[in-house]
Symmetry: C2
Subunit: 202 residues, 2 copies
DNA sequence: CCTACCGATCGGTAGG
DNA sequence: CCTACCGATCGGTAGG
């Protein structure tokens, strides 16, 4: 069965990428060696190079599926409604859900993008720019007055992403705060400030 | 003059730390070698080890003055007023001003804390915990209702720090947006949401 | 895919 | 005997 070999090949690559995500998230791309990765996968270092031609190629695969998922979530959030408040809430929930499920990959994306070769890094950066533009569109639809201040739409979009992206440094999967609650809080703070966050109190 | 030697010693250490901040910010702690640092300082690698016993000690000095400056700015913001809104604005401006002035050190603090030996890392983390506690105090003073939601004060504090800390990834010293404007925007968004940000439009 | 290696470079230290 | 370094090289390990 030729299909079995191909399926096994893909399964092995998936395991390498997923173990790499774990190691890179914990020690950084430069702090985790290919030997470490091989040991984590219980294979030889050469076996890793049978599936990937370079360490950077593994890093790219760690990031690629994650950024694609974010791109899809953003498109879905925009398509769900024409109401910018609903779009903001949908995007916040979609992103935080992915951040929670793919925490390692998200950490790697945020910490080690600069260790990609330029061509591959540019591919990721292009998608990130699109996500920033999407958020600028939502926020200026919510508050057209932002456009009267040079740089404000971009800055507001980055402050929003700061709130949700920064969660990877402190969010605890086993804590009382859920990704869903954080999505609500970030959206509420953007829409109405801290009072809106507190207004959710029982 | 015995004083001249000591003064020169301190000046040399300062130059090493400042060049290290630049290199570590750009390439990461592991991505910048002691040889790179020696070359940047135009001295031999052995000269670096005359002033510092290890690479990690240099990293610690890069972070130490920066986190101390943040600690001072937070204490000053609290002391300036008993009004929590004024305290929030003062802290936001104080921090963003330091982030702009010490951009390299801030990047290193946020990216390479895990590369410090445990004892030194704990010293920094202890100060960071204090800064988080300070922000929790300000935010719960602003909105006592936060305390009715388990985890909300801590989460709100981290969302605020996310907004201002994340700026190190995108803020451009030569752009139209200033650190002062970002401090206002982060404080406004926390206090009243996006509408408050847009309300500043001319 | 493994064992056995390479060119180079790592953080750190020797003698002078 | 000290300081402030230098050229050369240490034992190990990186990616390949």
């Amino acid at each position: 069965m030729a299909r079995t070999q191909a399926a096994d090949y893909d399964r092995r690559r998936d395991e390498i990428v997923s173990k790499a995500a774990r190691l890179y998230a914990e020690h950084g791309f430069l702090g985790a060696s290919v030997s470490d990765l091989a040991a984590a996968c219980d294979v030889s270092k050469s076996a890793i190079y049978h599936y990937y031609v370079s360490k950077e190629d593994i890093l790219f695969d760690v990031m690629r599926a994650h950024i694609a998922a974010l791109e899809d979530a953003a498109a879905e959030a925009i398509a769900t409604s024409s109401n910018p408040e609903a779009q903001l809430r949908a995007l916040a929930h979609g992103f935080m859900s992915i951040y929670g499920a793919d925490a390692d990959r998200h950490t790697v994306l945020l910490n080690d993008l600069d260790h990609l070769p330029a061509a591959k890094r540019d591919e990721i950066v292009r998608i990130q720019r699109g996500l920033i533009g999407t958020m600028e569109g939502i926020l200026t639809a919510l508050e057209p007055g932002l456009k009267d201040r040079p740089g404000a739409p971009r800055a507001a979009a980055m402050l929003f992403y700061g709130m949700i992206n920064w969660t990877h440094t402190w969010f605890n999967q086993n804590g009382v705060v859920t990704t869903c609650m954080l999505a609500d809080m970030a959206a509420d703070m953007t829409l109405g400030g801290l009072a809106a966050v507190a207004g959710r109190a029982a």
